[in-house]
């Protein structure tokens, strides 16, 4: 992530275009709403450009986007860097044979799925989502890709919630974010 001093000038507009909504989905949670970023054509363009500039020369052949907001950022990046886009979905959405990974939520668990055959062993992948909180979802995505022999080069998010320590949960997997929502 860019440091405070040498911060890319595009970042402050991106950060201010994100709307903060208190008490969603429940009291006490402050929700980072990227839909307003998508309404600011320059901020959205700059967000994609920042990711593309970082990844275009890293030989990445797979961009895996986590449902559903990862589907908004992932495909434009994939198209710009010449990679395929692979949706990582909630259960029972993908129509073909899938592999599944269970992961923890605050209360209970959920499941993430990826199509069999979407990626091949040895491919280099980027995992994208709009936000990293605890890192549970991203870890599930990494596991799915690694199970089929893919090398996850980095995880990329628009926003990080550093207090929730998702970066630590990713362990040795690098994380790149544009906005720090402390």
């Amino acid at each position: 992530m860019a440091s405070e001093d040498g911060q890319d000038p595009r970042i402050s507009r991106i950060a201010s275009s994100i709307r903060v909504i208190p008490d969603f989905p429940k009291p006490g949670i402050v929700f980072q709403d990227i839909t307003t970023l998508l309404l600011d054509t320059k901020a959205f363009r700059d967000t994609i450009d920042l990711f593309v500039e970082r990844y275009k020369d890293k030989n990445i052949s797979v961009v895996a986007g986590v449902e559903a907001r990862g589907f908004i950022f992932g495909p434009p990046i994939a198209l710009a860097i010449g990679a395929k886009f692979v949706p990582m979905r909630k259960p029972n959405k993908l129509p073909g044979p899938v592999i599944s990974e269970e992961y923890s939520l605050e209360y209970g668990t959920d499941i993430m799925e990826m199509h069999v055959g979407a990626v091949e062993a040895g491919e280099r992948a980027l995992v994208i989502d709009d936000l990293i909180a605890t890192g549970g979802t991203l870890c599930a995505a990494i596991k799915l890709l690694e199970r089929v022999g893919v090398h996850v080069v980095e995880c990329a998010c628009v926003i990080e919630l550093p207090e929730l320590k998702g970066r630590e949960r990713l362990g040795d997997k690098p994380l790149f974010v544009i906005v720090n929502a402390a």
Partner: protein, 191 residues
């Protein structure tokens, strides 16, 4: 209307796009031949061509809003929006959007569902494109059109990658033009 009947007859990109779509029989239930666009997204050239065909069509139409229907509309809409300089507005299932919303109900085969849009995302007088991966009965797209019209936007066209037979010959949906790239394929031995 189908792209091949509207200026793109014989365009080799359309055949490649069609062939990149996988047919999955009996999903989500017996008798349905599901048109799976995830294989199109794995084919960089075909995916890029899909977006380029829409961008070429819409770039000079003064469109300031691309509204994409959750979730597969999210895979195509943002790239088109970015290329034509429009904003992207996600149209979502209930309770996903965190701010104030307006809702529009629509019919399913059994029962009903609801599509939501954030209040303030779209201004009166804006010209909008609605995008989804596939149009079948048109129920979802009709709900999308109603949402946008309720806030005073003008829906210029609805665009889908695939159009099922029910829509062939229908140039309009709710009075709005419909633009579709390909028809569904039958199952074959490729997949």
């Amino acid at each position: 209307m189908f792209a091949a009947e509207n200026g793109l007859r014989g365009d080799p990109r359309l055949q490649a796009i069609s062939e990149a779509i996988r047919v999955v029989p009996h999903f989500p239930k017996q008798g349905i031949m599901f048109q799976d666009i995830t294989t199109l997204l794995l084919n960089h050239k075909a995916f890029k061509d899909t977006v380029d065909i829409f961008v070429d069509r819409y770039r000079d139409m003064g469109i300031s809003v691309v509204a994409g229907v959750e979730a597969r509309g999210f895979m195509f809409g943002p790239s088109i929006a970015l290329a034509i300089g429009a904003k992207f507005v996600p149209l979502r299932k209930p309770r996903k959007l965190p701010g104030k919303v307006i809702s529009e109900a629509y019919e399913l085969e059994y029962g009903a569902d609801c599509l939501e849009m954030h209040v303030g995302a779209v201004q009166p007088g804006e010209r909008a494109l609605v995008i989804d991966d596939l149009v079948a009965t048109g129920g979802t797209l009709s709900a999308a059109i109603r949402l946008l019209e309720r806030v005073g936007a003008e829906v210029v066209e609805c665009a889908c990658v695939i159009g099922l037979p029910e829509v062939k010959g229908q140039h309009k949906l709710n009075g709005k033009p419909l633009y579709v790239l390909v028809e569904p394929r039958e199952i074959d031995d490729c997949y």
